[in-house]
Structure formats: C-alpha cells, structure tokens
Symmetry: C2
Subunit: 502 residues, 2 copies
C-alpha cells in the first residue's frame, strides 16, 4: 500500500510493532508454561502451535508491505523522534535478516527447539548424552547456517556473538578471557595452598517451604514489585518478561543447599529489576526489554556477586537468616556466613560456581562453541572435550555428562554465543561499581542497612530506563567510558586475596 | 481461491483447523497463566495481546475464502468421511455465527473479559460488589447482544443455554428444576429434624504439603496419566486442555478443610479423564474436546459424587488417609468419614456444597441469569435477589457478597448459561450409572478395591472417545435412551434417606 501521510505510516508502524509484540508474548508464555507447569507429554501439541505462530511471525516480519513502510519512514527520517528512528533501525534490521532466512528453515528451527527442550530434560535426567546428540547436531547446523544469514561478512561464531552482544567478536573475547585466566588461575593456585573455608552449614536441611519464604524476603529487599514480578520453580533458573509490567523469575530449591536458590533469586532478581526499570514508552515496541545479554548479565551478576556476596549484604540479611533458620545456623556468625557463600573452589556446575572460578566455566563453553561453529569439533566429541577442558582450566574430573556438558539449558534452547555474556557482564558490573561509587560514595554503607534503593535507582537512571534505545556498546561507554577488564580483575584479586589472606 | 481437487480443499480445511487450534492453544495458555502464575499487574499487557490474537481469530473465522471452501466441500459431501462431515458442519456453524458478530464487538468482548478477571478477583477479595458491577453490566449487555447473533430465532437466554448444551432451553430446565426442588426441599426438611452428622474432624489442620501429596494419590487412583495431566493451584478450581495430551486441572487448598480440595481434585479429574479419553483423530480439529458442558459435568460430578462420595470409594482410600493423617483422623472410622463427606446442610458456597443441596445453588444462579438476560433484573440488584433466593431455596442468610454473588468466576469469565449444566450433568450421571450397572454389574465392587479402571473404560468407550463427533443429545440418547431426571431424584432420595434414616 501507499502511504499518504506520515501519521498514517506511523500508525501502521505502531500496529506492526504491537502485533509482533503480541505474538512474542504468546510464544513466550507458551515457552514459560512448557518449563513451569505443562505436563511432560504436551510438547508435541505445543510444537504444532509454535509451528503455526512462528510461521505467522515470519510472514509478518518479511511482509513486502514492510519494505514500503520502512522506505516511506526512512524518507521522513528528520521528522521522526529519536525513539522512532531507533525503532525503524531495529525493524529494518530484523526485516533484512529475516528475509535472508528461508521460511521453512525458520519454522523448522522453532519446532526443533520446542522438541529439544523435552529431549534435553530427559537426557540430563538419564545422563544420556547420546540421546541428545542428534538434536544438538541439528541445532549447531542451524546456527552455523543462521550465522550466515545474520551477517554473511563475519566469521560464523562472530555473527552469533553479535546476536547477544552487538559488536562483540572472538578477537576481543580471546584477549578478555586470556586476561581473566592470567588473574584467576594463579589466584586459585594460591588459594589451594591455604586452609579452606567451611561451608558445611549451608548444606544442612533447609525445608523448601522456608526457602520459598526466604525468596519472598529477598525479592522484597531488592525492591521487586510483586504486582509486576512473579516467581516460579524450574529445573534451571531464568528470567523472562512481557513488557515492563510482567516479569517472571524462576529458581530451583535444593533442601540441602541454602545458597543455591538464594543466589539464583538475587541473580534473576537483577535481571528482573532491569526489565521492570525500562521506561513505559518501550512497551509493545521492538525496543522493549534489556538491550543485550552482556548488559543483562551485568545487572544480574552485579546483584548476585558485587552486592549479594558482599559483607554488607550478609550483614543486612543475617538477622532474617538467624530468625528463620535458627537450628541450621546455630553457632554460625555473620563472618562465617560471608566466607561460606564466597568459598572459592573448582567445581562441576556453572550455576553453582563461586564468583572466582565462574568465568572458567564460561571459558570451557566458549572454547567448545567456537570450535563447534568453526567446524573443528563434532557434537559427538563434545563430552570428551568438555571433560578435558574442565581438567585443564579447573583441575577437576567430570564424573558424568549430567554434571558435565548436559548441565545447561542454553544449547537445547538454541543459544550458542550466549555464554560469553556472563563473563562480560561480570566485568561490566565491576566497572559500573567504580563509576557508581564515584557518584554515590560508599554504596556498601546503604547495602549494610538493607537499603538497595539508591543502587537500583542509579542503575535505572543510567541503564534500565533506556531499554533498547541505545546500542549496548554506546550505553556502556556513556556511563563507564571504554570497557576495561582491569576493573574486574582488580576487584577479584582484591576480594579473594583478602578473603583467603593470600 | 478456487479448488481444483477435493484433496486440495481438504488440505486447506486441515490447515484452517490447525491454525485455529494453534490460536486457541496460545490464548488458552495465556488465560491459564493469568490465573496460575502471572503477577497481578500484568493484565494490561495480556489484554493487548488478547486483543491482537482475538482479532486474528475473528479474521480467520470470517475469512471470505472460508465460504468458498465450505461450499466446495459441501458439494462433495458424499465423498467425505463422517468425521469430515461433522468438522464441516461445525466450521460452517462457527463461520455463520461469527459473521453475525461485528469484529469490533468480538475483540472488545475478549479484552473486557481479560480485564474482568482481575476486577472480579479484587472485588471478591475486598467484598466490594460495587466495583464489579459496571463490568458485569457490560458482560451482561454483551451476552444479550451475542445471544441474538448466536441464534436470532430463540429467546436470548435459550440462545445462551445452547452455547453450553445444544438443544437445551428454559422450558426443559424449568420443569427439570421444579422436579428437583420437589425432591430436594422436602428431603432437606426431613433431614433438618434429625440429628446432624459430625464432620468437625474434616476441619482439623491438614498441612498443604500433605494435601498436595493426597492430590497426587487421588490422581493416580483415578488413572490420570501425569505425563499428559498437570495440576495447579488457583482461586477457583477448573480444568482446561489443549488436545488430549495436555490437560490441566487446578485445585485450591484450605488448611482447615480436607474435603474441599479432595473433591475438587476428583471433580476436575473427571473432566480431565473425559479430555484425555478423546480419540487422537480429534486433536487440532474443530471437534477436539468434550462436546458440551452438561456432558462434561456429567463426568466430573459422576466421579465427584456417585463414585467419590460412595461408601466403596471411602473404603478404598481410607487406609491412605489413616496413614497420612493419623493425628487428624484419630478415632475416625470409615463410616464416620463417609457420613462426614456426605453431610447435607444448606450452606453459602456452591463449590463446597454437599451433593443434596448443590442443585439449589445452581437454581439461584439460573433464576438470576434468566432475569438478567430476559431484562427483568438489573445487575445492581443482583446481590439483593441473590440473598433473597438463598433464603427462599436454602433457608439461609448471606452475610456478604464475597460469600454470595461474588463467589463464582463464571460471570466474570463471560459464562452466562453455564450453571444449569452442573445440575444437568449430575442428572445425566445418575442415568449413566444405571446403564453402566446393567452392563458391568455392581460397579461399587470395583470401586471398593480402588479399581476405577472398568468404570473409566466404560465411559471412555461410550462417551469420551467421541469428543465432539456426536451432538450432546444424540450422544446421551445412544448410551442412555431418553433423558429422565427420575434416575437422579431416585438416586438422591435413596442415598440421603438411608444416610439420615428419614
């Protein structure tokens, strides 16, 4: 169709974005339901629905009339607001990209991912990599092909990295990870030689019911508005959202591990604060939600580690813990608790890893993904390489694939290139802390009083409220200047050498 | 488009049904999420999504090409299977009906219902009918208008009744309810004059965790395959499903009431067995799922009352109860338990009502709906009429709207004309029992052994497997002959005069 006026075109553009948002919402809730409440055998029917809906989304996105609309808007660029310009840029990007992906492949991929989730769950439960291998092969194949559609000018893995962190590439990451290793590995070596921290009391019996109440307490402490933020229980904790007024975090309770769910809730709570803090104007647009996985993880890992694993935070929550877990924490002091939740020790499970060794887990995945997408590693060989790298980086043996390469949900969810954002986010967070402290003074003095408000306000003001308005690199630079991993390595070195006296 | 071959047309018809099923699935999961997990403040965003999706469903249903397709198929009727003929009949019916509903009204109604759910929840919690009144007025207005679209030749309320039970009308129901009243009211009168049953032990403290396990036990006893049937927790118990491999029941736990959730699970479990028992060929078609609310309630209330409140059933589950609730049931015999769960006593809440007084609750709603739709009652006067009828039919005073006209979710969900199916279903079930006993012998001998398999098999064979292939009246008649409420009144009279010795 032809547009007579800009108003008419903007109306059409608005409708287009609202319609896409609606489908994303519906598909998002179907996926959420799949992992929270749906019975196991329901995947087939959900697959058919996803097939239909993703087909519609594909058609909507590549619709010829979009080209006409976007061209018309482009020709009136000077009359558009900053917001509209960015929406247009984003719409054009998705349009161009989707046009390079054949419809049938797009739909087949979505159907595959729905199936993969069920297969992965079963494979993990049964410690059976062989049953997951064929579907992971297909996912890798799709990702290699899609990388070419995303950006044919880049090496495939760089194109995938860009999906999660615009502007990121292997060159930067290789250097970043090398630098992290140079800091972390010697530190771990030193720590190995001194007396270890006793965290056994964290593994006493903590009833799920009590842990659920503790989650409520933590969410309240973090200022998560429950009218807009729910909490559920899943195998693997995550955050998802539909606009800034419907955010869901999930956790997983283990009766013999208090810290596991505690730090899942704080981590996912950090993601949730980001989503809840986006300005209203981005709802129902293509700019809705957090801008990149790296920035997202900078928020979640900021709350989890920089705040949540600080002496000040432990000080703030310790009275609650003593009141609600009196028997389990008998004889445990604040200091002991702080040390226990920071115990650094090479381990098997990434999501349970301590702050210091965490990035080594990410590096294992990064190496494997790089090779899988680069074509130098076959899926069937993933367990062997995984186990070898865990030995090399973390110095430990992996006893089973369930605790090894089957532990994460990312690959079955189609997310290849996501993992590095965890490490990047951690480093972003440390640099943000430095800026925040220049502006707010000693943030830990608020934290110690259980007052996270000034911190969340600062992050909202500088990061959250912009949603996807600014590109992640620009957003970060405007707040923190050039990215420099030194903030993070300094932070780790200072914290852990003090903690262990090394 | 023109169809060249029947195969081509049938493919298009298949695609049409699959597409509609996908949207229904997505919208169903959005609604389910709304009442199970979504945060309170998320309703607005969900509303926008529902608006978009229901607009698409409307367009899909009234699409001009459907007329061409259905005409083509109609002209090849003799070449269609029985299944295809019924699908076509159903598709044509929905097409004709939807064409009479203006698009904007259809969408606005769906948006309204999404909002109404949140408003009703709040109004009920705050015992504030006034805040619910304006939205109920709109729902009633929509229903009066829609009744004319559904069937302009019928009185409005008859047209609505037909939505839930094809062929039903006020004339039949007036007679049916009069007959029920003639049986029930004198029985209640007699019971009032004899010593009452002590059910106080059902109101001891039953921890939710233990009740959850009890639900699992009941679902297993009923043969509900958990791979295809989940259980959740909501304000008001219900069953929903997406094909025959994804059924969800919900319940509500009260720590001081064992029977409440117990009979909700059995009731919803009866609905679930119906859905799970539908043959696979109906999935993703317009004939998917139970055929009418009356037949559906015949299954749920059959399990809840005819089976679940029988001495044989109590005998089967009593060892479990004794083992898991030893303190609460100290000194309680099987006979005492059986009598307690059958205590007949006029009460306020329909879903908690005993089997004997239950239909009187339905009659109150029937009278009010008839008058609301007939135009002889205004929404603002509903509380007064409700309270007057509770006094008249059940002999009790309603202390608050929360325990009165705000108690059910049906009206906020747009379901006007649904309630009579509960009573009809109860009566259908009693007649089915008579036929079943002729064919299987004493069904309670199976029940007493905890073996419900022959009963479920019989119902599957005669009712469940047909999904919507047969119209409800035909389905019932083929199994039971002409509907005769005498089976139900005889059943009630026998059971309750024996129980109370009156």
């Amino acid at each position: 169709m032809e547009y007579q006026t800009l108003t008419q075109a903007l109306d059409a553009f608005d409708r287009y974005q609202k319609t896409l948002s609606a489908y994303r919402h519906a598909m998002g809730v179907l996926s959420l339901d799949a992992v929270t409440a749906a019975p196991e055998g329901s995947w087939e029917g959900r697959g058919k629905t996803m097939e239909v809906l993703s087909g519609v989304v594909y058609d909507l996105t590549v619709g010829k009339e979009n080209g006409v609309l976007f061209d018309y808007l482009q020709s009136h660029l000077e009359e558009l607001t900053e917001l509209q310009k960015r929406e247009l840029e984003q719409a054009r990007k998705e349009y161009d990209r989707m046009q390079r992906i054949p419809a049938q492949e797009y739909i087949r991929y979505n159907v595959l991912l729905n199936e993969a989730d069920a297969v992965w769950h079963k494979a993990k439960a049964e410690n059976d990599f062989a049953s997951f291998c064929p579907i992971l092969e297909q996912i890798v194949e799709f990702n290699r092909k899609f990388a070419g559609y995303y950006n044919p000018d880049l090496p495939a893995y760089d194109a995938l990295l860009n999906e999660y962190e615009e502007g990121m590439n292997m060159e930067t990451l290789d250097k970043f990870f090398a630098r992290l290793r140079d800091t972390i590995v010697p530190l771990i070596e030193k720590i190995r030689r001194v007396p270890q921290i006793d965290d056994s009391f964290l593994h006493r019996h903590f009833p799920v019911e009590e842990q659920r109440k503790f989650s409520d307490y933590l969410m309240e402490l973090m200022g998560l508005n429950r009218a807009y933020c729910g909490i559920g229980e899943t195998e693997h904790p995550f955050t998802t959202n539909f606009g800034n007024r419907d955010v869901r975090i999930t956790t997983h309770y283990f009766e013999n591990d208090l810290a596991s769910s505690m730090y899942s809730v704080i981590h996912e709570g950090g993601h949730a604060l980001y989503e809840l803090g986006c300005d209203d104007c981005y709802n129902y647009t293509l700019l809705s939600g957090g801008v990149s996985m790296g920035i997202h993880e900078s928020q979640s890992r900021f709350y989890e580690n920089i705040i949540g694993r600080s002496p000040a935070f432990v000080h703030a929550i310790f009275p609650y813990l003593q009141e609600h877990f009196p028997r389990q924490l008998e004889g445990v002091t604040e200091e002991m608790f702080y040390r226990a939740v920071n115990k650094a020790q090479p381990s098997l499970i990434r999501t349970e890893a301590d702050e210091l060794t965490y990035c080594l887990h990410v590096m294992v995945r990064y190496e494997i993904e790089k090779q899988l997408i680069g074509g130098t590693l076959e899926v069937k060989d993933v367990p062997a390489v995984w186990n070898r790298l865990y030995r090399e980086y973390l110095g430990i043996d992996v006893p089973s694939d369930r605790e090894g390469c089957l532990q994460d949900s990312h690959w079955s969810g189609g997310s290849i290139g996501y993992f590095p954002s965890y490490a990047l986010g951690s480093a972003y967070g440390a640099q943000m802390l430095a800026v925040m402290e220049r502006e707010l003074g000693d943030v830990y003095s608020f934290v110690a009083q259980g007052n996270l408000e000034p911190i969340t306000q600062w992050l909202k003001e500088h990061i959250h409220r912009y949603a996807c308005l600014k590109k992640p690199g620009d957003l970060f630079r405007e707040v923190c200047g050039e990215f420099d991993p030194k903030y993070y390595t300094d932070y780790l070195e200072k914290k852990f050498s003090r903690l262990y006296g090394v």
